[in-house]
């Protein structure tokens, strides 16, 4: 889901940067307003965790690879704004140092992976966890949040890919950037995340939440006056 350089034309990558800048500012303000200093290391941990999770490539045999992100798990622990900040930092380091995701596409990748995913997944988690208040219910809610959060991020990434041939096609019919239309990008990206990578995300999210709740580390998931949730 890390869009490389060259797949998005300038209007798209400039617009996504323009959308990200105020969102990053807002995230920083939300973190400043609500995160207790004692919980600051939790955000550092979250950025490093997400970086590592994204290194575990999951094969769709003979076809393609993908990976989980851990974005909704992080949102459950530090709220979606904290998650957005932490995951953005991981994405910037991936792009600059490791060429995973383009530098022109940092705005687009942050929008999909650092904003769309944690916010969608966290909203799902909030609604479901009220209906399922048991320990198992909380873990299942977080898992479903992870599944839908990652799938929604794949959908917005597919929209960005799929808009390119419509925005940029030369007179000879050749695409200038990403070549496939929405009718190809959306089913390809959404289905693989819905049916495989999102399920891995769900399992990771649900199991870690379940484990944390039963351990001495349950405070990690709790607001304790330090959650960055709203």
């Amino acid at each position: 889901m890390h869009i490389p350089d060259g797949y998005l034309g300038p209007p798209t990558y400039l617009a996504t940067y323009a959308a990200c800048i105020p969102l990053w500012g807002l995230a920083a303000r939300k973190v400043r307003a609500a995160l207790a200093a004692r919980r600051a290391p939790l955000l550092a941990l979250a950025a490093a965790f997400s970086f590592l999770v994204m290194m575990f490539n999951i094969p769709l045999p003979g076809a393609t690879t993908g990976h989980a992100v851990g974005g909704v798990l992080i949102a459950v622990a530090v709220g979606p704004w904290g998650a957005a900040l932490a995951i953005s930092i991981a994405l910037v380091i991936q792009a600059l140092l490791f060429g995973d995701g383009g530098i022109t596409a940092i705005g687009a990748n942050c929008l999909n992976i650092a904003f769309v995913m944690p916010f969608t997944g966290y909203a799902v988690y909030r609604v479901l966890s009220r209906l399922l208040p048991s320990r198992k219910g909380q873990a299942i809610s977080a898992g479903i949040g992870g599944w839908l959060g990652l799938t929604m991020a794949s959908f917005t990434a597919a929209l960005m890919f799929g808009l390119q041939p419509w925005l940029h096609t030369a007179g000879d019919g050749r695409a200038l950037y990403a070549p496939y239309p929405l009718s190809v990008t959306v089913p390809a990206m959404v289905l693989e995340h819905l049916l495989l990578f999102g399920l891995v995300e769900a399992l990771l999210t649900g199991l870690v939440v379940y484990h944390l709740q039963g351990s001495r580390s349950a405070w990690v998931l709790r607001p304790a006056g330090g959650e960055v949730s709203q």
Partner: protein, 111 residues
């Protein structure tokens, strides 16, 4: 800081296990992630290289491309997995350090 120690240890264990993410796709011939193909792959798929893509694709030369240390891009899998673990540790240090400095600064004065 002490209360966070088990988590950092857990992350280092994850870093040590990270080559799973390198071996599994290779063993199952999984290929590139969707939409992350190289120029040559795109040319094989659609019969030409989009001109804008060609122009932008080498805008940035990442120092450690695809988590392979310089000179190791084509190395055997065992060597690349060592690069992969070192990249993972470096990534943990930079993500952790960068985010820590930023949030420490943001939450300065918070209780």
């Amino acid at each position: 800081m002490k209360e966070y120690r088990p988590y950092w240890v857990a992350l280092l264990v994850m870093a040590a296990l990270s080559p799973i993410g390198l071996y599994l796709p290779e063993l199952l011939r999984a290929g590139s992630a969707w939409g992350e193909w190289g120029l040559e792959e795109v040319r094989q798929m659609i019969g030409y290289t989009p001109s804008g893509m060609e122009r932008l694709s080498d805008l940035w030369k990442a120092p450690i491309p695809d988590y392979a240390l310089p000179g190791q891009e084509e190395a055997p899998l065992a060597h690349r997995s060592l690069s992969y673990v070192l990249s993972a540790v470096l990534g943990v240090a930079l993500c952790g350090g960068g985010t820590y400095v930023l949030t420490r600064w943001l939450t300065k004065g918070n209780r």
